[in-house]
């Protein structure tokens, strides 16, 4: 009996070995980045054996990185850019999702099919004509040009359609007897009921837009409008890339806002039907 429980205990410990191995695979690169960002000029960057703890830890690199990234304005830009996109996308997806789920009208399947056809055309394929469109509308190098082309999300319409469809018919009928029209029913009865989907959609769009750097890279010219990702890419590929202490500090700083966001909203990322819907 005693040997049995000993073996069971050993098995439990063994289960952690592969888990810890992969945790190291995913964490060590970040840890090395963070450790470098604390290393002062006297500390060697490359050593054998590897030194994770800086000999003379310093915050100097962060002080420089804050300035090089224009950290606070860029973070504000990222936030504004992502938050406005979320509001617009949620509005578009919930207005479009409702009739596709609850109303019976001519051309329903055609509209749904056309809306979903986006999923077949990857962004990199239409980024060039999309840029030409933004030029023609005269909204190049502006928040409008950054946000409007990103607002239509097929998967969001699909998501909202699914959750509107799952609401029982009785709720709608009761409201109709009370004399509510479709717009009232949508706004006062359905929208509160699909809150979980709205939250999930908001989080997905927020993270996706926060991490988006290709579209800002194409449309933005003015540095005052640059989001965090764009400032960082300018830093790592530019002339500063020689100073890896600053680059690492800048990358560490840029990582923090979204990491905090991820920790706060972790259950939305790793739970239920929306899990895996997000692609960074």
């Amino acid at each position: 009996m005693k040997t049995y429980s000993y073996r069971k205990w050993l098995m439990k410990i063994m289960a952690y070995i592969p888990l810890l191995f992969f945790a190291a695979v995913f964490l060590v690169p970040f840890l090395w980045l963070i450790s470098t960002s604390f290393k002062s000029l006297e500390d060697p960057l490359f050593t054998i054996p590897i030194e994770f703890l800086p000999r003379n830890p310093t915050l100097d690199n962060f002080r420089h990185a804050l300035g090089l990234l224009r950290f606070w304005p860029s973070t504000f830009n990222s936030f504004l850019f992502s938050a406005v996109t979320v509001v617009l996308t949620v509005f578009l997806c919930s207005t479009a999702g409702y009739p596709l789920a609850r109303m019976d009208f001519t051309g329903k399947n055609v509209v749904f099919g056309l809306f979903l056809s986006n999923l077949m055309i990857p962004f990199h394929v239409i980024m060039v004509p999309l840029y030409l469109m933004v030029l023609r509308l005269g909204i190049n190098d502006s928040y409008l040009g950054l946000i409007l082309p990103m607002a239509f999300q097929s998967f969001g319409i699909y998501l909202m359609r699914q959750s509107f469809a799952s609401i029982p018919k009785e709720l709608e009928e009761a409201a109709r007897i009370d004399g509510c029209g479709d717009f009232r029913i949508w706004g006062t009865i359905f929208m509160p009921l699909v809150k979980p989907s709205l939250t999930a959609l908001s989080i997905i769009v927020f993270v996706w837009q926060w991490n988006n750097f290709i579209w800002p890279l194409i449309t933005l010219r003015s540095r005052e409008l640059f989001p965090l990702q764009l400032m960082l890419i300018g830093l790592t590929s530019g002339m500063f890339s020689a100073n890896w202490r600053y680059v690492c500090a800048a990358a560490t700083l840029s990582m923090m806002p979204l990491l905090i966001f991820f920790m706060v909203f972790q259950r939305y990322f790793l739970e239920g039907g929306t899990a895996g819907a997000l692609k960074g």
């Binding site: 888990l19 690169p29 980045l33 009739p99 009208f105 692609k279």
Partner: protein, 295 residues
Amino acid sequence: MSERRKRLSETLKAYAFLAPSALFWLVFFFIPVIWLIQYSFYDFQFTTASKFIGTGYYARLFRDGVFQRALLNTFKYAIIQVPSVVLISFILANLINQTVRGITLFRLIYYIPVVTSMVIVGTTWRWMYQTDGLLNAMLKSMGLSGVAWLTNPRAALPSVAGVGVWKSAGYFMMLYFAGLQSIPNELFEAAVIDGANWFQRIIHITIPQVKRFTVMIVLLAFIEALQVFSTVMVMTEGGPGGATDVVSFFVYRQAFQFLKFGYANAAAMILLVVTALASVVYFYVVLGRGQSEDL
């Protein structure tokens, strides 16, 4: 008659709801798609289409050695990335499907690269891949010689693909995890009673049971790999010597560095056709093996 009028008013109301989305779809998707096709046949003066030139760009693309190399690199990238990411995400999903203390923390850790921006991931790995960086220091401490990860033309593409695997493994892990959770527990219990060991359970229960997830994951990973852009953009910008130049990066450079919008559109069209063809062939192969009832 009143039935028809009711239908008409319902249709009008529905389109009122759909109007905002329809407008965005039209302006920022449909018209650009038309332009994509149309402008691949036009010569450009700066950003304005000026002259119809027929299939000139397509003919030129097929003679363009740089484009051919980019196309070849894209396929190489996919061949390295897809099997690796599918295998690793399957392993990870099985690991996080255990019921041990603290498993949520491991799920969280494996997912961090997915939510981290490619700019940060790319910077992190450029630092890992330095000549004297952490990776080479580890190799040297094991008595092996270092690798010029991003500067050796033969190592660069696999190195970049490795970062792609590292970043998206957690994403596909969660898809596989959903698949694993859909397997009825009785199957495993019965197998344990029959004396099947862990390895046999994986081969005979898990893999067949998640087959339709594998079909989907392979397709998603493959499409993603054919579109590869940000890893290359952030880490190598196509170098060294074009060794990591891929089609979407070719499109980007033609349009936004050389202002050759027509040529870029033609290359994007080829990327679209290749992606669509690959998906169709893939489904044809999968369905052709008589697995359609699983889908």
